[in-house]
């Protein structure tokens, strides 16, 4: 190996090593800091401390943890399931039953990908207020269910679904909804898994809309709780760290268990 080749290799490792360290460091920081007192955290202590027990105890005394966690799980899982059902029906419908009118509408649906949420939140808030849904979990879920991105993802994936399967089922006398439920869904389960992971992450981390709609402590999700703990005048960072760990753990877990589906779901749009 000549010198310049060797230099290139070393440079690559230094580049990757630095990038990897900077990427992981905040996670390590989160874990280390959960064992330290607030004052030690903001003065940059990098050693493991002995305040973990106190931080956990303080967190549990300030926050109704089971309730908050349940709120987050309920909202994210329900909204995700609804999104997947509704969007996969649409993706299947747009691909399997093509017509000029539906193709035009599909183009309009894709156009909604560009609509910024800021331009929706005021009318949505007024709508929910009029319907008496402020401070309810239904209000959080309703606007997130129809997702142009997931419809697009399912339509793209449906292109790989073999129409022979559908034709055979038709000959056997199955109705359209039966074909969808008994043939399409089982065949496409990896597509469903990837969509689940991606939508769940989005819902779990959703912030702005819940911040607007959820106003009482009984309905708040973990993301909102972490945010409000950290925006206190003198935040107790030890307690905040326990919150960030709890908020991050489920998504980390989903990521490591379903890494392949996660990446597949993310890339779904460019294939």
């Amino acid at each position: 190996m000549n010198v310049s080749r060797l230099a290139t290799t070393v440079l690559q490792y230094v580049f990757l090593g630095t990038a990897a360290f900077l990427s992981i460091f905040p996670f390590i920081w989160m874990v280390i800091s959960s064992t330290n007192k607030s004052i030690d955290i903001i003065s940059g202590r990098t050693g493991i401390g002995d305040a973990f027990g106190i931080n956990v105890a303080n967190f549990f005394s300030q926050v109704d943890v089971p309730l908050v966690f349940w709120n987050s799980v309920k909202v994210s899982v329900l909204a995700t399931l609804l999104t997947i059902v509704v969007s996969s029906l649409a993706g299947y419908g747009f691909e399997m039953f093509r017509s000029k009118a539906r193709d035009r509408i599909y183009a309009l649906v894709l156009l909604t990908l560009m609509v910024p949420f800021a331009a929706l939140m005021i009318p949505l808030f007024m709508m929910m207020a009029r319907s008496g849904l402020i401070n309810t979990h239904i209000a959080i879920m309703l606007p997130t269910i129809a997702s142009a991105f997931i419809i697009f993802y399912f339509r793209q994936s449906t292109k790989a679904f073999q129409t022979e399967l559908r034709d055979a089922a038709k000959v056997d006398g199955l109705k359209e909804w039966q074909i969808f439920l008994y043939i399409y869904v089982p065949v496409m389960r990896s597509t469903y898994a990837a969509a689940f992971v991606i939508v769940f992450m989005t819902n779990w981390n959703n912030y702005l809309w819940p911040l607007i709609v959820l106003q009482s402590n009984e309905t708040k999700t973990i993301t909102l709780v972490v945010s409000s703990l950290a925006s206190a005048y003198y935040p107790d960072y030890g307690v905040v760290m326990i919150g960030t760990i709890l908020a991050t753990l489920p998504t980390l877990l989903v990521f490591f268990v379903m890494q392949r589906q996660f990446v597949q779901g993310m890339l779904g749009s460019v294939k």
């Binding site: 290139t8 920081w29 093509r98 910024p116 009318p123 309703l142 912030y207 460019v270």
Partner: protein, 298 residues
Amino acid sequence: MAAGKTGGLKRYYDLNGWLFVAPSLLLIAIFLVYPILRSLYLSFFAGKGMMMKFAGFGNVVRLWNDPVFLQALTNTVTFFIIQVPIMITLALMLAAVLNNDKLKFIGFFRTAIFLPCVASLVAYSVLFKSMFSVDGVVNSALLAIGLISTPIGWLTEPFWAKVLVILAITWRWTGYNMIFYLAALQNVDKSIYEAARIDGVPAWARFVYITVPMLKPVILFTTIISTIGTIQLFDEVYNLTEGRGGPANATLTLSLYIYNLTFRFMPSFGYAATISYVIVLMVALLSFLQFYAARDRS
């Protein structure tokens, strides 16, 4: 086949087609199409709370005379003009290096660099806030290696607060973009690189003349997504600055200003809706420009 029979089949086909897409279309109509039109309508009204009266283009005039709006607009534009190119370049370089299967620990590096996009926006903003305090771990490290001689006021000085926001978004989204490039690169024929290497083309030139042109469609796609995301920046600035966009409005974004106008003070629904249309126009214009630029070059 008889004409009546064909008509029946077509009706059956159409009915099923509409039934499958109906739930989504209904939800999109109620929770997307109606609100976006309603925002446009509201933008012609002025007043506080529910006391609103027709104002024509009064809100647009108000925009031009509102220093806070102009600052939020400048901040938002600054963020994406500086941040998006840095992040895209960094992500491309990482993907180019990570595409080399001969490197050791490649799986570890890929996972590590991808990991930030698993963190929730709120959680990482809060973590960054604690890391970038005046006596915090980042300043300590920079002092220790001699890069700075006095601590930087990341959260108290307007310039450094902007830098912090840019650093934070770059941390969160570089790995996300990198994955798109990596996936695209793995479909590129490796022999092109081998041939270039044998011909003595240096690594940087292979990157500029092979990798970047090959990935043009993906680069365009990720640039649009990133730009749209940065124009809507909210979670990070809200959580780094206790919702104020400080210091001295240095990190106030358009979305944060809309939020404050609507939900922090006595709501000015009409004026806030007008600002939201500034975001709509920016997103539309930039997406169009980027598509146009990419088409022009090819």
